[in-house]
């Protein structure tokens, strides 16, 4: 599900089935020398989010990406997010990010960190293959949590 009124309507009717929220965490680096890298990883993260959304439409709600610039205090951001997401009625929370700094932040829910892969030079077929590989990687994290209960 995407964060659009139509999908939210479906969510409201099917709360038992759609029990997972995914928050893409998008790091934006404004310094000219790292801008390109930042853009590349943002493209990767957004593509991957869309790809996962397509596969798991019926169980996951994808939030619009939470974006932050390089000097944001991540622990503070994590605390705010954890606090606010408690008010939603999702049983599982996942954060999807390519920013390694999140691995040392404590947050409610699970942070799934993936190294960014530059997609800009790839053709469609290779992109598809890469996305499938990545999906398999994150899938294990999702399954782990889903199977607990």
């Amino acid at each position: 599900m995407n964060w659009v009124p139509k999908d939210v309507d479906t969510y409201i009717n099917q709360k038992d089935y759609i029990d997972t929220i995914v928050v893409p965490l998008l790091s934006i680096d404004t310094r000219p020398e790292t801008m390109k890298n930042s853009a590349s990883s943002s493209e990767f993260l957004m593509n991957l989010s869309m790809f996962i959304e397509k596969q798991f439409k019926g169980r996951m709600m994808f939030m619009p990406p939470v974006s932050y610039t390089q000097s944001t205090d991540l622990q503070q951001l994590a605390d705010t997010l954890s606090e606010d997401l408690k008010k939603s009625s999702f049983a599982h929370t996942f954060y999807l990010t390519t920013d390694a700094k999140w691995t040392s932040v404590t947050v409610e829910g699970k942070v799934v960190w993936l190294p960014s892969i530059p997609l800009e030079t790839m053709d469609d077929h290779l992109r598809q293959t890469i996305m499938e590989d990545q999906l398999r990687q994150v899938l294990t994290h999702f399954m782990e949590k889903w199977n607990v209960q």
Partner: protein, 166 residues
């Protein structure tokens, strides 16, 4: 004398000619608009090529990824990638939509312990090979089918239609 055209007849012919021309100029578009729904293109002609050769298909469904070029979305154009599960039943090529009829996840062939079935990883939905939903699992209807055509040995897919195999 009979061949002579009198001024009166000449004028009435001219009048009828111009009048008829003007009337048809008004009526033709009206008629065209009236029958337009009948002449409208049906979706069936919109077949999209896939890289899958029909000769390579077997009775086991395989995943075929293909791209719809220049899909016009609300405010940008982009190529949309799409997937189908394709297999052969006798000589007939069958393509099923991978979209689960429960809440729209993507189903996989033998994605779990169940053999010879489609499996939806979201809520353990199960479908038989022909797309029929297995009672007791969440989906409420069979998987949709794609319109299929084989052109020059390659599989072409059209729009989705309700499952005709179940």
């Amino acid at each position: 004398m009979s061949n002579k055209v009198s001024r009166r007849t000449f004028l009435s012919y001219t009048l009828m000619g111009t009048g008829g021309f003007m009337a048809s100029a008004m009526l033709m578009p009206m008629i065209r608009f009236a029958i337009d729904p009948v002449l409208a293109n049906t979706g069936g002609s919109d077949m999209i090529p896939t890289p899958q050769k029909a000769a390579d298909l077997t009775e086991t469904p395989i995943r075929v990824d293909y791209t719809i070029k220049d899909r016009q979305d609300a405010w940008y154009t982009s190529d949309e990638s799409n997937t189908a599960w394709v297999y052969k039943e006798g000589d007939k090529v069958i393509a099923l939509s991978p979209v689960c009829k429960h809440l729209g996840c993507t189903v996989n062939w033998e994605g779990d312990v169940y053999k010879n079935e489609f499996f939806c990883p979201c809520h353990a939905g199960r479908y038989k090979k022909n797309g029929d939903n297995i009672p007791g699992s969440p989906p409420l209807g069979p998987l949709d089918e794609y319109e299929v055509e084989v052109i020059d040995g390659f599989v072409y897919l059209g729009g989705t239609i309700p499952n005709t195999l179940v």
